[in-house]
Amino acid sequence: MATEVMAQAEESRTNYLTNGHTVKSWLLTLDHKRIGLLYLFSISIFFAIGGIYAALIRLELITPQGDLMTAETYNRVFTMHGVMMIFFFLIPSIPATLGNFLLPLMLGTKDVAFPRLNLLSWYVFMVGAILMLITIMSGGVDTGWTFYPPYSSIYSNSQVTLAGVSIFITGFSSILTGLNFMVTIHTMRAPGLTWFRLPLFVWAHYATSLIQVLGTPVVAITVLALAFERTLQIGIFDPKLGGDPVLFQHMFWFYSHPAVYIMIIPSMGVISELIANMTRKKVFGYHFVAFSSLAIAVFGFLVWGHHMFTSSQSMYAGMVFSLITYAVAIPSAIKTFNWTATIFKGSVSYDTPMIYALAFIGLFTIGGMTGLFLAALGLDVHLHDTYFVVAHFHYVMVGGAIIGYLGGLHFWWPKMTGRMYPEVWGRISAAIVFLGFNLTFFPQFIVGYLGMPRRYHAYVPEYQVWHILSTAGASLLAIGFIMPVVYLAWSLKYGEKAGDNPWMAAGLEWETSSPPPTENFTYQPVINHDAYEFENVKEIKEAAAKEAALQTA
């Protein structure tokens, strides 16, 4: 009886979702939560496009001959796969969706520091994305996502300039988001919420924003210089025009190595939240985990030359870059060990977000450890530009970044929508993603060491068995990715009502209602304790009281 009345009261209360139903109320919204959902919707589409390209790649590679499509088409397909996935899915993925949605909630504030800038960044992103879709429709690009000149500047007859302009514009959206987050974290924390009381998700986003703001301008300049060389024949990179092709590689990787951390650090932030809340334990070594994000962000700027060990850069430069790369591996190791230690003596839940978190630890360990192979100078000479590299960065980007994103999406789904996803399906799909992923990418380590170069449309027959395994895994992986789309969409209408704190999690975002009201909190939160203090969680206390009552009864 009482619960029914409460449910009705909840129903009638307006939340950020019911506050305006028109298209205009979405497209002109300044609410960070709605902007997060706008991003979520957009990047899901771009992920699907990138995924279709991935499927085409895997289908082509079933046989050694290039028989499904021409070499020219294949080159465009793998390029667009990389471009869509990196610039339009992975880089915005967690910060622009979960970050946008959660940061003000976690800080106990109404919105980000610059709500209008936040909306602008989505529009800038969409302009860049639409330009990229136009690029695709006018033939696409065949240079690889790395755009190495002089091929990209002089020789390629695909839409390089248009793609460059698109990436240039999209970069600004990333800069604006980073800037907004940094200012928000600095100035908008609720009373009592000191830096070392912040959830680790916030620390991760602070580190990520730093990279976005400092790194993205460099890639913007680089693609602009490329466009100038291509359209105006200004010699910057092509030796025939008096330029230096290796200069481009330096500039490109100065951003693109740290960009790897733009993709992975937010995911690490998510994992810290998931493990703490799913085990009801404070994250082991909070300060180490927090500062390791910053260390990765800062040192990540000093390792770009590890992409150029065979590029004719000097041997001693190679040694310096190799050494610093090993130094930057340590903060990642520290995080992994701390997460594992957090589970120790915890109260471990087996729900979907935890399964994703554990999958992350396993896959990211392999991804990170194989990075040690590639940072090893004498071994990288053989491995560079082979499928070993492809396998390695998919372990980090998919096994790390995307797994973290999916785990976070499941964990905060009830907060975002007010509904639970079906738990059984969540667990099944997480298991399928894990198996499919390993079957897709583990064989690529082997075929890479055997010598299979990346970006090959056709290959020598002795590699076929590994490609067949990989394609089989990719089919499974596709199922694992499609399932959440279906059941999450289903849950919007039919999912069980979530309640404010279905996980009994600690964290300010769980103290407000699900979905939260437009202004996030109906009161001003004041914080007087650290993050992850589970004895403060009302729902756990109630459950404990109920259990005690049952026992005495």
Binding site: A71, E72, D142, T146, Y148, Y151, P239, K240, T279, R280, K281, K282, G285, F288, F309, T310, S311, S312, M315, M319, S322, L323, Y326, I330, A333, I334, F337, N338, T340, A341, I343, F344, K345, S347, I361, G362, T365, M369, T370, L372, F373, A376, L377, G378, L379, V381, D385, T386, I446, Y449, L450, G451, V460, V465, F534, I540, A543, A544, E547, A548
Partner: protein, 339 residues
């Protein structure tokens, strides 16, 4: 391929001196990786089972952290990493240091083929014939975009960059035929830019060299040197309008800006294409650029000629006589092919 072709290989054939070293390193890294991963996975499984949530109101005892553990799991991985770094750097140092006494082959990459020119004049496309048991150094450049010369069986790879020379070297240990792949994406037929390297016993290699009717690059270079009229200024008596180039290869040259530069492949190439870039002291910038009139392969031949008239150290280098026909020069035995 081996007789046991049903056996699934995890490594390419080991056909060079580097191969075994690289493989041992690779296996060691997998052992570390598997060890660490299994350790973490076991820990997770044990914790999962042992600390499964038993009731809904459960709050476990909190652990803030542990300073000693943090130090241990930072310092131990760091030490292991330094070890890996040193091991990798050692192999890299060998791979990218100039080999002593080697057979030098000139390679040009071009969309989408590999051309190789042997010092004795043999030329080949998309194949490379090398003797086993002898260091072979490839000096490479590209006529268009970036490529990379990758021989998995030798564990060597180096980018081939337009506008500059890069080098790679190896010593084949096992006769056989192995793949050459272009590893740096270079456009439409990138995956077709492949070929084979054939490692042969030194005797067979000599026989193979004698099989063609090609002239040594130094001879062709000498002809180019006069047909492009280089010799009208760069006279042998040193009184021409350009500096004398005999006895010069490998020596230091003073420039008009006070600095100096080694008269090597890179400087020669640059001076042919961009004569004004580094002008020799006391000379004027009167030389025209030969950009567009001379191919990368021809530049390599001019370099071979200038090298052949360079300073002779001890053993007489194969200096072709001006009137020498192709055959006798090609038949001249290469420097002792002992290990």
């Amino acid at each position: 391929m081996s007789l046991f072709s049903f056996q699934i290989p995890f490594m390419p054939e080991q056909a060079s001196k580097f191969a075994l070293e690289v493989d041992l390193f690779y296996i060691a890294l997998w052992l570390i990786t598997i060890g660490v991963t299994i350790g973490i996975v076991i820990a997770i499984f044990v914790f999962m089972v042992k600390y499964k949530r038993r009731h809904n109101g459960e709050i476990p005892d909190q652990i803030e952290g542990h300073m000693m553990l943090e130090i241990l799991w930072s310092v131990i991985p760091f030490i292991i990493c330094i070890g890996i770094f040193a091991w990798g750097a050692k192999i890299y140092y060998q791979m990218y240091s100039e080999p002593k006494e080697s057979l030098e082959i000139f390679v040009t990459g071009k969309q989408w083929m590999w051309r190789a020119q042997h010092p004795d004049g043999q030329r080949e496309i998309n194949t490379l014939h090398v003797p086993v048991g002898r260091r072979v150094k490839l000096t490479m450049t590209s006529e268009d975009v970036l490529h990379a010369y990758f021989i998995p069986a030798f564990r060597t790879k180096t980018d081939v960059v337009p506008g500059r020379y890069t080098t790679t070297w190896f010593e084949a240990t096992k006769p056989g035929t192995y793949h050459i792949f272009c590893a740096e994406y270079c456009g439409t037929q990138h995956s077709g830019m492949i070929g084979t390297v054939t490692a042969m016993e030194p005797g067979e290699y000599q026989a193979w060299l004698g099989g063609g009717t090609n002239e040594p690059p130094a001879i062709v270079g000498e002809r180019l040197f006069s047909s492009l009229a280089c010799n009208t200024c760069h006279t042998a008596d040193g009184k021409g309008r350009g500096p004398k180039l005999t006895e010069l290869y490998g020596k230091q040259v003073k420039l008009n800006n006070g600095s100096s530069v080694t008269f090597d492949d890179t400087y020669i190439r640059e001076s042919i294409l961009d004569p004004a870039a580094k002008v020799v002291e006391n000379y004027q910038v009167i030389m025209p650029s030969f950009r567009g009139q001379i191919s990368e392969e021809q530049i390599g031949q001019v370099i071979a000629y200038l090298k052949s008239i360079g300073p002779k150290d001890g053993d007489a280098a194969a200096k072709p006589a001006a009137t020498a026909a192709a055959k006798p020069a090609a038949a001249k035995p290469a420097p002792a092919a002992t290990k």
